[in-house]
């Protein structure tokens, strides 16, 4: 079972699904063992703006602009209790339908009076080693010039309790 479930979505995994999955899924054995694979992730973060407007669209409080996780691309906050936010952020970005499903209602609940949230998903693509080689003999500060920033998602969401 542990051999098959290491690649559970394969034909063998699907074939033995009815035998193995009840046990394997319950004890945490049906897991893909992939660390930094198939390819290591690039730097990612969520930028959000929270708006506070009344029923007539009048802003009654200054918007809040922030990042999730708060440390964003300036360097991960790797402390054990802070690190979990980075894992949650990846969970949200991998399937962006999770942002309105989980992130927005949660953020609205944490900010009483919030009416709308504008969310951007940002990816800082790390240059390839070959690209890095081309600037390495100049100045390592040139690194920032070859990091490309891409917006891979951008949406505005109403807070569930606002309407």
């Amino acid at each position: 079972m542990m051999i098959v479930m290491g690649n559970g979505s394969s034909f063998l995994g699907r074939y033995f699904e009815s035998f193995y999955n009840p046990v394997a899924n319950s004890i945490g054995l049906n897991t893909t063992w992939n660390f930094f694979s198939p390819d290591p992730a690039h730097t990612m973060y969520i930028k959000y703006d929270i708006y506070f407007e009344d029923a007539y669209g009048n802003q009654f409080k200054e918007p809040v602009e922030s990042y999730y996780p708060a440390s964003r691309d300036q360097g991960g906050d790797l402390r054990l209790d802070k690190k979990r936010s980075a894992y949650v952020m990846r969970f949200l970005i991998i399937d962006q339908s999770r942002i309105p499903q989980f992130f927005v209602p949660w953020m609205c609940a944490k900010n009483p009076g919030a009416s709308k949230i504008f969310v951007e998903v940002i990816l800082n693509r790390i240059p390839t080693l070959d690209q890095m080689m081309s600037v390495v003999n100049q100045n390592l500060k040139s690194y920032d010039n070859i990091v490309s920033t891409e917006e891979i998602g951008r949406s505005s969401y109403e807070c569930p309790h606002a309407s």
Partner: protein
């Protein structure tokens, strides 16, 4: 001819029986229990600071906790049996149980309860899991079926028992057999984890290309230090990338081969030490390397423990 085949089948069967059911490994299991449970205890102490991820205010509502798993991976049992409002207390209980287990003040039923709460916590919010949570949980499950408190345990000091009157000989043999099977399962599990981790990397273009380590070390969300200066020595990343894959893919083969085993384990310690320091994944590294104890000889483990804590005579615990 028939007799020869019968003999060979008998030999294989007895070798298999011996391999699966007769390995006592109390020393290895005792030390492994201490390190694994102490590491999970440490992680859980930090997780107590993130308790809002697991309670009423969690981003993942309770009724969605299992639904966020892809269908194929969804647990069949909802292990988080407690109401969300109680999570802080249940988690404190988990910390206590892990602490007691590290000291050896536990039993098989208590270890299983520890694992159930641990698994419940993991299932409650799957989005925030570390690799160390998942792998540690799986090994905690296996460990709860072993005789892991027979050695290096405070229980032996506090509740000195007469080995002759505790249970019948058949019960003892039965216990050893179950413990032996789960000991072997842990060894096999570790090999499989490494093997698949290596295979998964081979699917990635950057691992195949030899530049994956660069992407990891240049990412400030992974790397603890600014290692971009190492791009002046690009071969470091290429060699490191290929060595990582070689180490992982060939781990099971090298564990079977007794001659190469120790070299591969030393390489593994170096590999995980590097990951632990450079990527600040020390808890993951300890969870992984602690399982190497299961591949060591009992006398090696005993003599190392004796050496480390000799003058306090803790090895006799």
């Amino acid at each position: 001819m028939q007799a020869r085949i019968k003999k060979n089948v008998g030999d294989v069967r007895s070798a298999l029986d011996q391999f699966l059911f007769e390995k006592s490994a109390q020393e290895q299991l005792g030390v492994y229990r201490f390190i694994l449970c102490a590491t999970l205890f440490y992680i859980a102490c930090f997780r107590q600071m993130n308790i809002d991820f697991l309670g009423v205010e969690s981003m993942i509502p309770r009724d969605a906790a299992l639904n966020i798993f892809p269908d194929f991976y969804r647990p069949y049992i909802q292990w988080f049996f407690w109401p969300d409002a109680w999570v802080a207390y249940v988690h404190l209980l988990l910390i206590t149980l892990l602490g007691l287990a590290a000291l050896g003040l536990t039993s098989r039923p208590l270890m299983l309860l520890t694992w159930i709460i641990h698994q419940g916590v993991l299932n409650r919010n799957y989005s925030m899991l570390f690799g160390a949570d998942t792998i540690g949980g799986l090994f905690l499950f296996y460990l709860s079926f072993t005789n892991c408190t027979s050695y290096f345990s405070l229980k032996n000091v506090l509740f000195k028992k007469n080995k002759n009157d505790c249970s019948s000989k058949s019960d003892v043999n039965h216990n050893i057999s179950i413990s032996s099977v789960f000991f072997r399962l842990m060894q096999i599990q570790l090999c499989i984890i490494y093997m698949y981790t290596g295979f998964e990397k081979l699917k990635g273009t950057t691992w195949w290309d030899g530049t994956a380590l660069w992407t990891v070390f240049a990412n400030p969300q992974f790397s603890q230090f600014d290692l971009k200066f190492l791009s002046r020595v690009p071969v470091f990343f290429a060699v490191g990338t290929f060595l990582s894959i070689l180490f992982e893919v060939y781990f099971p083969v090298m564990m079977i081969n007794k001659n190469y085993r120790k070299y591969w384990l030393i390489a593994g310690v170096m590999f995980h030490l590097g990951i632990g320091i450079l990527l600040d994944l020390m808890t993951f590294s300890v969870v992984m390397t602690s399982t190497y104890i299961l591949f060591l000889q009992a006398d090696t483990v005993s003599s190392t423990v004796n050496y480390l804590v000799g003058r306090f005579k803790i090895a006799k615990i």
